[in-house]
Symmetry: C3
Subunit: 134 residues, 3 copies
Amino acid sequence: MPHVVLQYTANLEPLVDMSAFCKEIAKMLVAQRDDDGKPLFPTGGTRVLAYPAQHYEVADTNDDYGFCYINVRIAHGRSDAAKKATGDALLKLAQARFADAFRQAHVGVTIQIDESPGQVYDAKHSNLHPLFNK
Amino acid sequence: MPHVVLQYTANLEPLVDMSAFCKEIAKMLVAQRDDDGKPLFPTGGTRVLAYPAQHYEVADTNDDYGFCYINVRIAHGRSDAAKKATGDALLKLAQARFADAFRQAHVGVTIQIDESPGQVYDAKHSNLHPLFNK
Amino acid sequence: MPHVVLQYTANLEPLVDMSAFCKEIAKMLVAQRDDDGKPLFPTGGTRVLAYPAQHYEVADTNDDYGFCYINVRIAHGRSDAAKKATGDALLKLAQARFADAFRQAHVGVTIQIDESPGQVYDAKHSNLHPLFNK
């Protein structure tokens, strides 16, 4: 964790550089700090995955609107302030990255952070974490 | 919101017109009314995204079964009756849209509505909502 | 249910046979038994869907790391022991299936089971279940 998934209408593909956006989000998450100045999230558990949908429909379906939904799943244990700061930083990145798209099209972006909803099992198998836990 | 995601086995692609299904779902959601006759959901926040999976496996894996999972994420604040009516309307659409597929193949369809599970942050950046809030 | 979704970086595609992995997971789930020796999950409700992401970024973004997130959504009603056994069996499958990938690349795998988070509506339309309820 954090686990970030972008689900969006495929008509945004030519309007937004989603690979660059994924990179910005990952870098922002890795740079977040808690009140003690320690990393808020484990670097080796940070991932961002973006999925355009070929079949989609938005709003009243009368135009080829765009939509991007950004969901961040995190584990329990962060302060409310840290969660808000993370969400706000993500919103700022989205506003910048989608600025051109907003000028050219009708687009909605929604960002939500979920804290381990309904989770009853959690396991990790990784040779990524050791790279960053030195 | 509402945020609708269809996740399905790619073998349904030739059997079900998923673009048409997305459109039906969006139109149905936008047409839902609460007890006061007002729109149950914001038009500009309504989106439906459909994702075929190239890699999949269903049931006992002994045949090329089909499956479509439909998840609707909504915000808090609707009545139980309104939520049930929305789910039932979606089920009815699915039954009609998948009728041919059910005649030709073994298919499962599951519909679930989730109310903001575990949500700790929510933000919106949109030039879609103003189109419909007049 | 159970509803299994794999979301992973597309760079794992040549390293892991995801279709075979889906099949292993489905077979494992169908084989799980509760304390009475009865099937833990309904065969006709078992499905596994795998989605590579073309756009992605992992960890510090300084290398082409891989990541696979496995989410299992189940309905309420299983014992803690049964849920842990299912998660552990899935972890074991992942460790075997990703062994080669771990030798060749830096990869993270996370497995989480969620129990109907926030669910307010549930419906099923299926001609799959009757095949297995004899």
